[in-house]
Each structure stands twice: as C-alpha cells, then as structure tokens.
Amino acid sequence: MTVTDAPPAAEPADLPVRKASARKRLVPYWLLLPGILWLLVFFALPMIYQASTSVQTGSLEKGFEVTWHFQTYWEALKEYYPQFVRSLLYAGTATLLCLLLGYPLAYLIAFKAGRWRTLLLVLVIAPFFTSFLIRTLAWKTILADGGAVVGALDALHVLDVTSWLGWTEGNRVLATPMAVVCGLTYNFLPFMILPLYTSLERIDGRLHEAAKDLYASPATTFRKVTFPLSMPGVVSGTLLTFIPASGDYVNAELLGSTDTKMVGNVIQSQFLRVLDYPTAAALSFILMAVVLLMVTVYIRRAGTEDLV
C-alpha cells in the first residue's frame, strides 16, 4: 500500500457507489408510481370530467356543452338544500351514536379484554363478511312493522317519545329518520371502533398508573389522560364515519321514505333517472366542498397535530 496508489484506486470504486445511491434515491418514486397512476386515472381524471360536466348546459338528446354555466350550483343548492341539511344532520347523529357506542367497546377491547381481544376484534369486523346491501336489507326485517323490535319499543313507550321528537311516525320505525340513522350507525360503526381501538391500545399503561399515583381518580384519569390521548382515534374515527355517511344513499333508499332523502339519493336520481348530469355533478362538488370545509374546521379545533 503506497500513498500515491490511493487516489486513483478510490475513484473507480466511487462510481458504482454513486450510481447505487442514485438508484436508491429513485426507489421512493418507483414505489409511489402505481398509486399515483391509480389516483390519476380513477380520481383526478373523473374529478376533472365531473367539474367540466357541472358547468355544461344542454340535454341528453342535443348533447351537453361547456358553457361555464355556474348558476347550476346556485340552483342545485336552492332546490336541494333540505336534503343537504338532512344529510349532514343524519350523518352527524350517526357519527355521534357511533362514538357513544364505539368508544366503550374500543376501550374494553384495548384495556380489559385480555385474551378475548382478538376474538372481539374479529367480531367487530365480522359484518364485513356479508354484503353491505344484504345487511342493510336485513334491517328492514329487524325494523319491520309489528316486528319484535318495534313491538318492544312500543310497549316501552319509547316510540311515543321518538314520534313526539319527529324521529318516528306513530308505531312505525321503518321509513322514518330513525331507521335511516340506525342503518347509518350500524353500517359505519366498525370504521369508528377500529381507529379508536388503535389509538387507545397505543396508550402506555404506565401513564394510567402515573395519573393514579398523582391523585387522579379513575374517572379523572379517563378525562385528563386517556381521552385526550385517544383524540387521534376520535378524530379519524369520526371522519371515517361522517364523510362516507354524509354521502351515503343506500340506507335512506332502503330504510327511509321520500321524506328522508339524503343528498346522495338526489345525486343518484339526477344521474341515473332524471339524467340531468350538470346538476348531479354540481351537487357532488357542493357536498365535497361542504364536507371538506367542515373537516378542516374540525381538525383545526381538535388540535390533533399537537399530539405525538
């Protein structure tokens, strides 16, 4: 080994290393490519197409043309705002119910289930083994007039209260707002439980001990430590429930009546029955904008970016 030998020997050895590192730098892009292509073809292009549809005028016979007719938005909103409000109300109620039902269950699975944990988790996602449609149709039977559930609710005078609130009609549950909200709650409950479980399960058990050690009763420990630390799960759970629920039309279609139509039903009928594509596209964009705005405000308020 001489000193003069070293520099020339180092250079050729350096080249393949540099090539390899260049290849390494490209790896993330290669990994991204399939996803980007997918999004481009199945998300970005349809979005652009729908955006252009929403500002077209014309009819199916004469053909549609882009005329930058933004009034469609205003007219759609004017005509269908009750369905918008209803969608947000139903989706919001269903989300709240999911949270109230899902949190205790997620808490139980995360902290108290022990060896039953896996079984319970499987049970949570078990409904997914059956079609969404079949399950929703099953609720038609469950809530059928004169069925056991309605009979029991009637006997307990629950229906008197819900009818007074306008949630049900007389001794009927099917084809009322309550039926739609029940369907939504049922169908989206797993989407609430799973993120809640994940964030609860990640909480270090020693934090509970530390809180107890620092004079926090079990209730205070929950309020001051467990719940704040589960906020990421609460936020993602509510988003995963609220966003799809607000655009859902299957539950309103199968369990509701004409008075419980949600914006999803309107969009569906505009597209497939009325064949008024611009209005349908405009409604879709309004829904998207409203949801996006609400979600942004919500995430800001929840302040989850502060959590580790």
Binding site: D204, R206, E209, A210, D213, L214, V225, L307
Partner: protein, 389 residues
C-alpha cells in the same frame, strides 16, 4: 439536618413506612416472600437486587399499584393497605418516567396539585422547576426533552406534592453512565434539601451505596441483609451480599481452633479471623467460607516473603493475569487455598517483578477477614456483578 419546615408541608410528622408480613404471589409464583421492613422517616432507603428479586413489586405495593397478597402497609400509624394509589400520600418516579405526552412540562408538574383542587399552582410549579433546573423548559412537551431532563421532570412532578414518601423505581436506568452519576448526586441533593423519605429501587450496587443511608439487599423475594452501605460492604452475612456488593474472594476452609479468634486451614495454610466477624456458627472441624475483599489484600513477590509482618494472614500463589486500571492494578492469582483470587493494588510503588507467572504471597490483616456459612452457594450473586471499579 435541613430546614424541614419549608418543604414538608401538610404531611409533616407523618412517620416511618412500615411493612409487616407483606408478600405478593402471582398464582404459584411468589414475587415477594413475607417481609417486614421499616423505613425511618426522612431517610434515603435503597432496595437493591437483580431483576426479578421482588424489589419493584415491593415498591409498587407501597405505592398502591399492586395489592399485597398478605400483610399490611403502614405510613406512620395509618394502615394504607386498602387505599387506592390516588388516596395515598405517596408519589412515584417511574422507571420510564411516564410523563404525559399530551401535556407540557408545566402541566405535567402541576398535574398532582390540580387533581387535589389547588387553584394557584403557578408559584409552586415555578419553584419546583427551578429546583430541578428546568425553569426555561416549562412550555416544552416531554418528547422535546433529553432523557436526563425528562427524568428531572418526573422527579419534580412527584415532589411537588410533598409526599410523605417518594418512591423511585430505577429512575436512572435509562440514562448513560455519566448522566447517571450526575443525577445520583442531584437526587441526593434534592433529598437532603426537602427531607422527604426516599425509597429507591435499583439493581446498581454502586448507585445504592453512593445515594442511600440504608440499603436492603433483596434476592429471590427476600431481604438478604439490611444496613448502612459500609456495614453491608464490610460485614456481608451471605455469599449473595458478599458477591453482589463489590467483589469478594471466598475461600472454603475448615475450622481448627474456635475462640474469640478462629483459626482455619485452607489449601494447607493457616488463616485467622475474628470470631465476631463470622456470621456462621463455628466449631472445630466445621466448615466455613472465608471472605476477603480484593483491595484489602497486599501482594508481595515470593522472594520478599520474609519482609511480611508476622500475624498477617498469608496465602501463596502465582499470578495468572494482571490488568492495569490507572489508579490501581488488578491481579488474578491462582492459589492452592482457593482457586482464582482477585487482588487490587494501588499504583503507588509498582513492583516490576509482579507479572503473570510470578510466584507471590498474598497477605492481609486478619481483622479484615469475614466468615460465612459454608452451606450456601459460593457464587451466589456473582453473575450479576457489574464493573466494581
């Protein structure tokens, strides 16, 4: 001692921690054998032992995080055995600190005060953060702090409540050596300043000896020996303590003469030790384990044997290994008396003849010899010994 009136607050005069007949079993496994222990008020008490010896379980029973299977926990005269942790005037510094990640340092420290309904916490939190030298970090989140800083927050968060007893569960385990030494002194300083009883759980014998007034050495769910660090070191009563605290040379010997001074034979030579330093019953013909600490032994070349003063214990041997540490040199000497003996010699005047292979004589003052019961495992506690430098 220190000005206690300033800090002990409403829990002043509480008294000692007393554990009577306390034990903990998990099914068939007994983590802590029935145990009686008294920790005097205001003392710095260490529970020392290898992992799995029951020291943490004992601590958690005092905190109320673990329910004892049998026995009673007293704080002063008050039986707190059935009190939940949030009703005990006791606070814990957890091994992993367990700081609340969603709260900043200020709120972490204020947590205990707020839970007890104290509204104006600002002054106290400020003072406490000053005590642990973290005044400028109040608005930081725990994950923005280094390990040592998090550790100090954990101490502040517990101490601010002026607990009757502060429990420390291996609080320095996650820190590197230098920081650990620094925090040991820091904790000792804080303890002297606030005068609260500290019960410190550790597996580090050096940490226990530097910090604590009293050390309880635990092994297999029992307290092997309890006493002041120097007392434990000089007069170990079991082979576990002899080996776990520092290093001991243990030599199997037979008693030939019993009296106020015991004379024993080991490897053909006669050795003596004071009878009061023998924790086992000694009768002529009985067997003993004779112990001597490596630093108490002097080393002479075999040629100089005549210069050794009479009356000292002498053992011959041959050097098999030497390692130069700086302040001292460590020798391993193979001896007919008892296998490989360790000798630490201060590097004052180095004898260049003391190299591996050299015949040597080990000699020491008989008063430094201790005797142990020979029925115990001679190497108990050895494998867990860390660098005893």
């Amino acid at each position: 001692m220190t000005d206690k009136t300033v800090h002990t607050g409403k829990n002043a005069g509480g008294g000692d921690v007393r554990l009577t007949g306390i034990s903990k079993s998990y099914g068939a496994f007994t983590a802590v054998q029935p145990l009686d222990l008294t920790v005097p008020q205001g003392s710095f008490f260490a529970l020392l032992g290898a992992s799995g010896c029951g020291k943490t379980t004992t601590l958690r029973m005092i905190a109320g995080l673990e329910e004892p299977t049998t026995g009673t926990v007293f704080l002063g005269d008050r039986d707190v055995t059935d009190l939940p942790p949030y009703k005990r005037p006791v606070n814990t510094v957890f091994q992993s600190y367990a700081l609340f990640p969603h709260l900043d340092i200020y709120e972490n420290v204020a947590f205990g005060l707020r839970r007890r309904g104290i509204k104006s916490v600002k002054k106290q939190v400020g003072e406490m953060l000053e005590l642990v030298q973290l005044g400028d970090k109040a608005k930081h989140k725990p994950h923005q702090l280094s390990g040592g800083q998090q550790q100090r927050v954990a101490v502040a968060r517990a101490l601010i409540n002026h607990p009757q007893v502060l429990l420390l569960d291996e609080p320095l385990g996650a820190l590197d050596l230098k920081l650990r030494r620094q925090m040991q002194l820091e904790l000792k300083r804080i303890q002297t300043e606030v005068g609260i009883t500290f019960i410190h759980v550790t597996h580090d014998q050096e940490e226990a000896m530097t910090m604590a007034d009293t050390v309880a050495v635990m092994n297999g769910g029992r307290v092997e020996q309890l006493g002041a660090p120097a007392e434990l070191y000089e007069n170990p009563r079991t082979t576990f303590v002899a080996n776990f605290l520092g290093t001991s040379n243990l030599i199997e010997a037979e008693v030939v003469e019993a009296g106020t001074e015991l004379v024993v034979t080991a490897g053909g030579g006669k050795l003596r030790l004071p009878a009061e330093r023998c924790s086992a019953p000694a009768a002529t013909g009985g067997r003993l384990l004779l112990g001597i600490r490596p630093e108490k032994i002097s080393l002479a070349h075999a040629d100089d044997e005549d210069t050794i003063a009479t009356g000292r214990n002498k053992v011959t041997g041959r050097i098999v290994d030497t390692s130069f540490i700086g302040v001292s040199t460590q020798y391993v000497v193979d001896s007919p008396a008892g296998g490989a003996l360790q000798v630490y010699e201060q590097n004052i005047e180095r004898d260049t003849r003391l190299v591996p292979g050299a015949p040597v004589v080990l000699h020491w003052n008989p008063a430094h010899t201790f005797g142990l019961d020979a029925t115990q495992a001679i190497d108990a506690g050895v494998e867990t010994v860390e660098d005893a430098a």
